[in-house]
Amino acid sequence: MKEVFKGSSTYVASPELMSAVNVSIALGKPLLIKGEPGTGKTMLAQAVSQALGKRLIIWNIKSTTKAQEGLYVYDTVQRLYDSQFGEEGVDDISRYIKLGKMGEAFDSDEQVVLLIDEIDKADLEFPNDLLWELDQMEFYIHETKRTVKAKHRPIVIITSNAEKELPDAFLRRCIFHYIDFPDTKLMREIVFTHFDDIEENMLADALDAFYAIRDKREIRKKPSTSEFIDWISALKLSGIAPAKIKETLPFLGVIIKKDEDLEAIKKTGLM
């Protein structure tokens, strides 16, 4: 294996996750990452691209995204306009073929990291429409009769929030990793990559409080890693006495976003 991913200065990956990334690179298969929101699924791709020094291409999926858009779009409207105003080169269809994110990744002269973000947002059939392209790393442009084939197999990272179940045929082609919510030990490491100097007392108390909140049954939306990081920076800036953190839970709004949840915590405290 020539390139090995070992995490980066701002991203702490668990050993299992690193191994998943490396296996997927070595086997040339897409890596499917699932996990709670805020566990750093999207950041993983950035970290991989940074650590391996490769360009990152992000394809953000929305509920209306079609698989075709990722490959190429034939801009018929532009061509129509041009033809009406007698522009030059209207008869050259290839001028109106715009490669999508996936097409861009295939067409790139060097290996890139392709992030297909939140694939579960799209229609149920979406992943199935990409099977051939992800397998063969090529697609065919009907209008110009050209086949776009990946010069260098991109490193494909796909994230999912598990909003929809993905089709079996698609899953079978992926390497799968579920990002578990970090335990306190890993969380410490994550905090240290974001803050150079942090008071040990404060961190310990904040961690205690944070995990106590997450464990509460009444909480509907559990706070995530990124919210915890925000909370730490708020606590740090305010210079609040560490001893007070568990007692008063300052800036609770940073980690708790729902009114009901705020009420629940105010009513029962941490215990």
Binding site: P15, S19, A26, R172, Y178
Partner: protein
């Protein structure tokens, strides 16, 4: 290689294809698993298991298959590893191992002090100079000391493999993914995923073509050489209408949290055309209640439901079906309110007659036949009943969509 493991996993119900297996073999060929069982565990899991709900099952099967070769220390001499590498033995010993484990648990205290074991292990290792099988002092196979392999002591030190990260068996032992199991009583998000199965996009011809289609308009306009041509399409909407009837009787109190989750999920799943929720106490009679308190007066007639919610509504009844026989069969069986001249059973039959698509979700359904739970068995014979778990809910949704 490891074909036995592949067959074993498939036999135990893991849905693994040959293509995935070949991928794993490719990974092995490329040396991605190193030579450690722990690496093999992670790599095989990421290739073979595609859902976190299956992690726990996989862990259990992995442990069952490889239970002989436990490992987490790396300073073991090669020779010792060779003695311990008895994978071929373990099939043979599988049964014995179970008995052995049982025996050991009786014999020795289940939990041993880890540091103490480690200390003893170092001492024994220093003294040991020959292979050992059986016995209760030396490091070896099938023994009952706390060290070595294939041994019965569950709390001891495992030898073999490399360290790098957490040992496979430590991970498995924690059963971190137990909560994700499909057969577990489920939570909100999983409910919602299951409820998404309930969708039926209208392709019905009786809907008006009133949705502007940009793509088709552009295409048609281009086709006709730039002369504007507007195309309308039938809208694609989920046409599923849902009637949710929830038991809020006394025996349901332990499940109130779960019921709340289900209620939330149904209402957050805003992709239904219509959702109606009513409550009942133990069984459905002439009235259903507007809220879970089930107070007399705050209700609507069940027949009003029949009249106003037509048979295209899909009905989900949630309850433990633990009525007393007279609550189900007597026409004065409703001790809280009016019976409407019919027994609960008859009202259920009316429900069934009015709504073609109807399922019953039961949070504490007895597996198989449960003759001692008369009411449940009777209701089950009338209305398809599923346990209120992820799997059960999925099956129920499939039933509703059939």
């Amino acid at each position: 290689m490891f074909l036995g493991f592949f067959n074993f996993l498939r036999r135990k119900g893991m849905d693994i294809t040959l293509a995935e297996w070949l991928t794993l073999m490719e990974a092995l060929d490329k040396g991605l698993c190193g030579s450690s069982l722990t690496d093999f565990y992670y790599v095989s899991r990421m290739i073979l298991v595609k859902n976190e709900t299956e992690y726990d099952k996989y862990d259990a099967l992995f442990l069952e298959y490889f239970k002989g070769i436990r490992s987490n220390t790396d300073d073991v001499t090669d020779a010792m590893l060779r003695w311990l590498d008895k994978t071929d033995l373990q099939e043979e010993y599988a049964d014995q191992w179970e008995q052995h484990k049982h025996f050991m648990n009786q014999q020795e205290q289940g939990e041993m002090d880890h540091a103490q074991i480690k200390e003893e292990y170092e001492e024994v290792k220093a003294n040991q100079d020959s292979e050992h099988t059986g016995g209760s002092t030396w490091i070896g196979t099938m023994g009952k000391t706390a060290f070595g392999n294939l041994g019965g002591n569950l709390g001891g030190i495992r030898i073999g493999g490399t360290t790098g990260y957490q040992s496979a068996f430590e991970v498995i032992g924690e059963r971190k993914f137990k909560d994700f199991r499909n057969d577990r009583i489920l939570d909100n998000r999983q409910f919602m995923t299951a409820l998404r199965r309930l969708r039926q996009y209208s392709s019905r011809l009786d809907l008006p073509e009133d949705e502007f289609s940009l793509d088709k308009t552009v295409d048609a306009t281009c086709e006709s050489g730039g002369y504007l041509k507007i195309i309308y399409e039938r809208p694609r909407k989920n046409t599923v209408k849902l009637l949710l009837l929830m038991d809020s009787g006394g025996t349901m109190i332990p499940y109130s949290g779960l019921m709340n989750e289900l209620f939330q999920s149904v209402h957050k799943s805003n992709h239904y055309k219509d959702v109606k929720t009513y409550y009942f106490h133990n069984c459905i009679y002439s009235h259903v209640y507007n809220d879970p308190e089930c107070e007399n007066g705050n209700w609507i007639e069940t027949e009003w439901l029949f009249r106003n919610l037509d048979s295209s509504y899909k009905v989900i009844i949630v309850g433990d079906a633990a009525m007393a026989p007279e609550e189900l069969y007597s026409d004065t069986g409703n001790y809280r309110g009016p019976n409407g001249g019919l027994a609960g059973w008859d009202w259920l039959r009316l429900m069934k007659r009015n709504y073609k698509k109807i399922v019953w979700l039961n949070p504490k359904m007895a597996p198989g036949h449960a003759p001692w739970r008369e009411a449940e068995t009777a209701v089950k014979s009338l209305i398809p009943m599923y346990k209120l778990t992820v799997d059960g809910l999925k099956l129920a949704m499939d039933e509703l969509m059939r």
